[in-house]
């Protein structure tokens, strides 16, 4: 589904990703762990197409398409979802309006019929239910006045409604209490653990991986993947730290 080869990326002239390669197939859940400053968020933003993240070398192919040639919204329409570490507030725009317009923009881009208001509300109710999120939260402006945990849960509701092929979840587990973490973990499993879906989890902690069992774990350090393994690698990291493992 996603093949990254020798990816180099810079921010403001400083090279952060230095030859990263990674292949994610449909049906797989990957976790990327690594010390602060290793380039984990840079990887997510670069794949998402954030302006300012310049690719200087390498390729990324998503479902046969040259991902790096697409605009951010085209990447979204192609099925790429980025769960933000720090979800952004948009005052005056309700979650429902935001998601309906986003989803319908994607559907139009794919040549599908936009959802009517009623169809959309039904979908939103269903997905909010999965994440135990009150519909009233969806009526509030996007992330405005949400607690850290609510914002992360909101990201998961958005993921459920948008229903992407590949989700890059950037530290979605940080700032969550135990109950919220469980809800988010179950949400990821329900929404994304399917034969035609894939997930790349960026995380520091084992606790999320207890809930969402990864098929592959990678250690990112110095802008490259320095080690890959199965779920047991995460446990090893937890016990011994990055330096010992990488």
């Amino acid at each position: 589904m996603l093949t990254i080869t020798n990816l180099h990326a810079t921010i403001g002239g400083t090279e952060i990703l230095k030859g990263l390669s990674l292949t994610i197939n449909a049906g797989e859940i990957h976790a990327i762990m690594g010390p602060n400053g290793a380039g984990k968020s840079t990887l997510a933003y670069t794949l998402g197409g954030r302006p300012g993240y310049e690719v200087t070398d390498g390729t990324a192919t998503f479902d046969g398409q040259d991902l790096l040639a697409l605009e951010p919204h085209e990447r979204a329409a192609a099925g790429l979802f980025l769960g933000f570490q720090y979800p952004v507030e948009i005052p005056g725009v309700s979650n429902l309006q935001f998601l309906r317009e986003s989803l319908n923009a994607q559907r139009r881009a794919r040549g599908e019929e936009p959802l009517s208001g009623a169809e959309f509300i039904r979908l939103a109710k269903e997905k909010a239910g999965l994440l135990k999120m009150d519909m009233d939260m969806l009526k509030r402006p996007v992330n405005v006045g949400f607690s850290g945990g609510e914002k992360k849960r909101n990201e998961m509701v958005q993921m459920g409604i948008i229903d992407p092929k590949l989700a890059l979840l950037d530290e979605t587990d940080s700032g969550l209490d135990i109950d919220a973490l469980r809800i988010v973990g179950e949400g990821i499993n329900t929404i994304m653990r399917k034969p035609d879906r894939a997930v790349l989890l960026i995380t520091h902690y084992q606790r999320l991986l207890d809930l969402v069992k990864p098929d592959f774990v990678h250690v990112l350090a110095g802008g490259r993947i320095v080690r890959s393994g199965g779920a047991e690698l995460a446990l090893e990291l937890e016990e011994q730290g990055y330096e010992a493992v990488a």
């Binding site: 302006p51 919204h73 329409a77 948009i90 005052p91 998601l99 986003s102």
Partner: protein, 498 residues
């Protein structure tokens, strides 16, 4: 000034202009329609004023009133205190009157010229109102008094309104049919010598709307007028007078679009509102005159004087405006709060892009005890435009217990535009409570990327964020207008990110 073109020349020239405009049009609603027009000769003299008055079969008193205004106008100078850069206007190089060629009086809307109906369609008149125009049964009732260029060509629902005692007609008709009412109030809210543009309007106003809501009547439908400048070089001088008698209520919608023209067009409207004891007038505007092209060429000059007199105790006047069009906007819908415990409101969204200039705001004149006012202004600037909020809050010495709350927010797109806030506060009574809040912000890259990652294009993302910014004002608009206004905000800002 002489005008040596024969009617035939005029027609050819107009046809050429229309064809050129069609071709050059990148402005979504910059179309032009080939309805035959009758025009006054170019230029402005006493004869022009007499011509207009005669065309409208006006009584002598009205002609005298116009002539008096014209003579005052000749002694006045163009105001220059606004933060606007307007090239000198040659008032002799414009037409002051154009009307569609005389058509027989229409019994119903079915008889309206299909071309005019086509114009409504292109204007994007909300579906509900199109249904009304199409006489669909059960359509939501909105009365549309359509001002096509200068003359009202169709009035709907007049009968139902008249059963409620509501008078809703063109001001020309009102001058003939209700001279006492018109005489009593015309020029009382905005005096003849109020300002250069208002005085000009008094002399040459072509048509407009008159509304009277009798005591205790809640107007059974929203009243709506669509303005449209359709003739090249024809200034549009609308005149609106709305009187709400004791305990009555009316909601009035005014919407404008104009076709693309190379030469600047002058628009100098006057709107006067009067609310008696316990009466309420809600006046909503969506203004989308042609703003000029991306290089700042062309566009409407919009010099408008709008003022409401909250004359009675507990009366209320509420202005809501969405200003996206015009090359130059000079407009301060105001409330004179004479009544005890009267209420004034001003909700405004002003968008400027490219080389547009807007200097807009309000005046809240508190003369009545316990009068209250709320001002919420949202300015959005993009391109190389300039957007100024200018507002006055004045409290008279005898006005005890006055309250005002003002909020001015500016949103900038890009780094070559300007946002300015110029509040004037004159308080002569120590019991007044005046609050003023102001913010200036930019659309953040974080917001843009977040929205784009969810699937919105850059332009859709900007439109969404801007609509959120303006929400407090947009939610004041009646439903039909709110939808139209949201679209407009997006359209107006196209090309402002990239």
């Amino acid at each position: 000034m002489t005008d040596d073109s024969t009617p035939a020349d005029t027609k050819t020239r107009d046809a050429d202009a229309w064809a050129a405009a069609e071709k050059a049009s990148t402005y979504e609603w910059g179309f032009s329609s080939a309805i035959e027009q009758e025009m006054a000769p170019k230029g402005l003299t006493e004869d022009t004023v007499r011509y207009i008055s005669a065309k409208k079969n006006e009584p002598e008193w009205m002609l005298d009133w116009r002539l008096k205004a014209f003579r005052i106008w000749q002694t006045l100078e163009t105001p220059d205190w606004a933060k606007l850069n307007v090239p000198p206007i040659d008032y002799q190089d414009a037409y002051y009157y154009a009307e569609p060629k005389a058509k027989p009086k229409l019994g119903s809307l079915d008889e309206v010229d299909p071309e005019i109906l086509e114009v409504y369609k292109k204007l994007g008149i909300p579906i509900e109102e199109q249904k009304v125009l199409a006489n669909v049964e059960g359509a939501r009732r909105v009365a549309v008094d359509a001002v096509f260029d200068s003359v009202s060509v169709a009035t709907t629902f007049r009968e139902e309104l008249s059963r409620a005692g509501v008078i809703f007609m063109s001001i020309s008709e009102a001058i003939r049919e209700y001279p006492d009412l018109v005489k009593k109030w015309l020029g009382k809210v905005v005096p003849v010598r109020d300002n250069y543009f208002a005085t000009l309007n008094c002399a040459v106003f072509s048509d407009g709307t008159f509304v009277y809501i009798p005591e205790g009547v809640r107007c059974p439908m929203e009243l709506s007028t669509y303005f449209r400048i359709n003739a090249e070089n024809t200034g549009q001088f609308e005149r609106t007078l709305i009187i709400a008698d004791k305990g009555s209520y009316v909601s009035y919608l005014e919407g404008c679009t104009a076709p693309q023209r190379d030469e600047n067009q002058l628009h100098a409207a006057v709107v006067e509102l009067v609310a008696m004891d316990d009466a309420e007038i809600k006046y909503s505007t969506v203004q989308n005159w042609y703003p000029g092209d991306a290089e700042g060429k062309g566009g409407i000059y919009n010099f408008v004087t709008k003022r409401g007199l909250a004359q009675g105790a507990r009366s209320k006047i509420s202005w809501t405006q969405v200003e996206t069009g015009s090359a130059v906007t000079w407009k301060y819908p105001s409330c004179v709060l004479n009544g005890e415990d009267s209420v004034g409101e001003f909700y405004s969204v002003a968008v400027t892009n490219n080389y547009q200039q807007a200097d807009t705001g309000t005046k809240m004149i508190h003369n009545g005890k316990g009068s209250r006012s709320t001002i919420v202004s949202k300015g959005i600037s993009a391109g190389r435009s300039n957007n100024t909020y200018r507002g006055l809050v004045r409290v008279a010495p005898g006005a005890e217990g006055v309250r005002n709350f003002t909020q001015c927010d500016s949103l900038l797109l890009g780094d070559q535009c300007g946002a300015h806030t110029v509040p004037y506060i004159e308080v002569r009574n120590p019991s007044a409570q005046i609050e003023h809040e102001a913010t200036t912000s930019k659309i953040s890259d974080d917001q843009l990327f977040y929205a784009m990652q969810r699937g919105l294009s850059a332009e859709e993302a900007v439109a969404l964020i801007v609509n959120g910014f303006a929400r407090e004002v947009l939610k004041q608009l009646p439903m039909e207008f709110a939808v139209e206004a949201q679209k407009l905000l997006g359209i107006s800002l196209e090309g402002s990110v990239g």
